[in-house]
Each structure stands twice: as structure tokens, then as C-alpha cells.
Amino acid sequence: MFVTRVITDGGLKGTRAGFSLDIRVPWYRSLPVSTVSIAELKVDGQAIPADDIRFEVNGKTWGLEELRSHPEEWWFVLDSAFLHVSGKKLEPGSEHNVSVTVDIKPPYIPGFFRMTECTKQLKVE
């Protein structure tokens, strides 16, 4: 089930600006990032403002609102993407309840959308 794999085990890392989270596309095939949105990211029950999150795939990074403008950029089904969060420091070794909701619109099913919410207890690497 995609719902168990959206957040990668061991995927929470402390960074200089805050933290990053390793996530996977909740679908059986690659999707262009224009069909993907991050509906919500919560740490210990607290929502992270969308403006504090950047999305990285294929070594390129965008603000969440910019994803829709990139139909040429593919998120390959086996690759990780990373959510980079600024302004919220997490101590290395501390444990947190992390929840992310990834919304996809498969480009061959007009009007269809699928929201997948994944929650995991993770230790900061």
C-alpha cells in the first residue's frame, strides 16, 4: 500500500535551516510534479506553513506553489523527493510524530484526485 510508504523509514534529517523529510510518490508509476501537491505536513501535531516548505526532486528545488508549473519534470516512481523545512529545528536523535498528505492527479484520469496521508514516528538522523 502506498499509504505505508509515502514517508521513507529513516527519512527525517536535521539540517542547518531546520529539517528534511524523504518522501515517495504514492502511485504505481512516475508522475510529473505538476500533478503532485503537498496538502499538509505536520510535526507532533503542528502544521508547518506551506511557505516554509520546499520540494526537491532530481536535484532541483521549488516552492510548493511552483510545482504545478512544471509538467516537464518527472518524479520517477523509485526515486525519493525531499521536503526541506526551514524555521523549525529538530534535535538530532529526538523522536517525532511526522504526518504528510500527498495529493496526486494522475494525468490520464480527468477530475480524479487521490489524497494519501502517511504518519510515522521517526528519529532525527
Binding site: 502506498f2 505505508t4 510508504r5 515517495r24 512516475s30 520517477f76 516512481v77 494525468p107 490520464y108 480527468p110
Partner: protein, 334 residues
């Protein structure tokens, strides 16, 4: 078994989404598993799942794939291609862009050695008609997947049947998906929505509306009608949308209706979500379906297609092994 005449078995790697998406097995390792577990010889892949850079396929990848398939004694059966008309969700491709996008995928199919490409109804009959010269030149048959909620006489399918009749080419065909011939909603779906904690009242409404008569002029109408009724009864949209799959994965076409298009069938998706303790597929009458294809003289491949990975973390490889046992038994090959 593979050398017997008649319907031939195989696997689509889509069945192994749990193994693949979790990075337990790579594409090459899955192909090795298909050979080792004798769940070929037919091999179907989804281009956008298996191949980095799809719709394009590099020469290097194509040569590696063809060599591995040959070494393992497998046969390419069908390449799943997609009608990604909404790469921009708010601005669909033009017909010319869609044609070019489909053409690239047919070129990939030919490079990889696939005799058939599964396409989707969103392509539209006009794009497929314009794609036909490419398909004929490259010897790749174009198969429209007839997937729930569609049936052989749904309005969108009839538009293709009319175009096919005019073009009269052996490179235009159909691919039945057996989810379209269900007799019940799969118990795997019901277990899943109960595990998610969806209210019983909503689940009963799904079951009640699922058995109501379908309207071939509006195959998607039930989802709209269900949404309206569920919203009127006060259920939240996030719960209602989880139930759409019941109408989009399972529909109720009588098995013998496939005979209407039998000469045009170029591949089959042997869809299933679950197997019971007797090794039968609850809700899909394989014991009635397979004899219809034997009677109709079908000699192509059927990919075993386990889609239960939407609902569980179980092993698709084991499910497909059990599905092959079931199909071999029904076909009298066990």
C-alpha cells in the same frame, strides 16, 4: 504449459507494485522472479513505471531489456502506455500533442519488442486513427483497455468500435480487463475501507448502488449519483472519495458479452484483488470467463494482474503464482 495452443498466461509487473515500489526488487530482479516462479512466459510492463525517461526509451535500456527477457526465456506481451492528456491539470494537451506523445510511446514499444501496446480511452478515436500508420509500420497493435466502469457497449467504447469498423486494420484491438466482469465488489476493498474506519452506512450505500443497473450512455454516472447521495446523507468528501474505487475497479458485464468483440481482442488483463481459501477469485467468475475466450478462439496472452497492492502489503509474486494455478486448473492444464 506455455507451448499449448490457446490462451497463454503471463504476468504484468504492475502486480508486483509492493515489491517494486518498496525497492525490495528491481525491474531486473522482478523479471528473474517471473522466470524462476514460472509465472511467464508473457511479460507486460507499464512504461512509466519501469523505464526512467519514459515516454522515451534509450537504446541502451532497450537492448538490456531485450537481452534479459531472451536470456530468461520470457516473451514481451504488452506495453502499458498512458494517455497523459492532463500533464497540466488545468490545460489538456491538444490532439497534435497527444498524437506525438502516443507516437513516442509506440516507438518505445517497438524498440523493446512488444507486439501490443495497451492504450487508454482518453486518447480519443481520432488520435488513435492518426496513430495507426505508425503502429502498422512498427508492427505494434494498439489495444484499448476496456476497464470498469466501461463495458463493450459503453458510449466511449462504441465510438472506437465505429472507427475500427471503418479502418478495418488488424492493428486496432481491445484489451478486456476482468474487473469489468465482476459479480461483486472485492472483499479486499471492503476490508480496506473498514480498516480505514469508514462508516458502515457509507459502505452499505456503495454496495446498494453498485448493484443498481448501469447506464451505457453514462458509465461514470454512478460515481456522480453516489457522490450526490452520500453528500446529502452528510458523509464527508474525504470518505466519499475513498469509495470511488468501488465503481472504477469493478463493473458487472456478463462474461459472454466479450464474444461481441472477440476477433479484435489482442491481450487480456486477468484482474484480481483477492484469492479465497480455495484459490478462487471472489467476485470475478474466472470459471465462466476463461471458457468464453477458449470458445471464442482467443490465442493471445492474459497477464495476471493483482491490484490488491492498493489495499494490502502482501506479496504480488505469491498472489500471481496462485492465480496461475487457478487459471491452469480452469483451462485443464494442471
Amino acid at each position: 504449459m506455455s507451448n499449448k495452443k490457446g490462451l497463454r498466461l503471463g504476468s504484468t509487473l504492475f502486480s508486483f507494485t509492493n515489491e517494486y515500489h518498496s525497492r525490495q526488487y528491481s525491474l531486473d530482479q522482478l523479471l528473474e522472479q517471473v522466470a524462476k516462479r514460472n509465472i511467464g512466459p508473457g511479460v507486460e510492463i507499464v512504461g512509466f513505471s519501469a523505464i526512467r525517461g519514459f515516454p522515451h526509451t534509450s537504446d541502451e535500456f532497450a537492448s538490456h531489456f531485450r537481452n534479459l527477457i531472451a536470456k530468461l526465456g520470457l516473451e514481451p506481451s504488452c506495453l502499458g502506455i498512458n494517455a497523459d492528456v492532463y500533464l497540466r491539470p488545468d490545460q489538456p494537451m491538444t490532439a497534435d500533442e497527444s498524437l506525438a506523445y502516443h507516437r513516442t510511446q509506440i516507438e518505445s514499444a517497438a524498440k523493446l519488442g512488444f507486439p501490443v501496446a495497451r492504450y487508454q480511452f482518453l486518447a480519443g478515436p481520432e488520435v488513435i486513427r492518426r496513430l495507426l500508420p505508425t503502429a502498422e509500420r512498427l508492427s505494434v497493435k494498439l489495444g484499448l483497455e476496456i476497464h470498469a466502469p466501461h463495458k463493450v457497449d459503453s458510449v466511449e467504447v462504441m465510438q472506437y468500435r465505429e472507427m475500427y469498423a471503418k479502418e478495418n486494420s488488424p492493428y486496432l484491438g481491445f484489451i478486456p480487463d476482468f474487473g469489468a466482469s465482476a459479480t461483486a465488489i472485492s472483499p479486499a476493498f471492503l476490508r480496506y475501507v473498514r480498516k480505514l474506519g469508514l462508516p458502515e452506512g457509507l459502505i452499505s450505500l456503495v454496495q446498494e448502488m453498485w448493484v443498481e443497473p448501469d447506464n451505457p450512455k453514462n458509465p461514470h454516472g454512478k460515481i456522480e449519483a453516489f457522490t450526490a447521495r452520500a453528500e446529502a446523507e452528510g458523509f464527508p468528501l474525504v470518505q466519499i472519495s475513498e469509495c470511488f474505487m468501488a465503481f472504477g475497479l469493478f463493473s458487472r458485464q456478463e462474461p459472454r458479452r466479450w464474444l461481441e468483440i472477440m476477433p479484435q481482442i489482442v491481450h487480456i488483463h486477468g484482474k484480481f484483488h483477492d484469492l479465497d481459501e480455495n484459490g478462487e477469485v471472489p467476485g470475478v467468475p474466472y470459471d465462466q470467463l476463461l471458457p468464453v475466450f477458449v470458445e471464442g478462439g482467443y490465442t493471445g496472452f492474459m497477464s495476471s494482474e493483482w491490484e490488491g497492492h492498493f489495499f494490502s502489503d502482501e506479496s504480488g509474486l505469491e498472489k500471481v503464482e496462485a492465480h496461475h494455478r487457478l487459471c491452469n486448473r480452469i483451462l485443464g492444464r494442471s
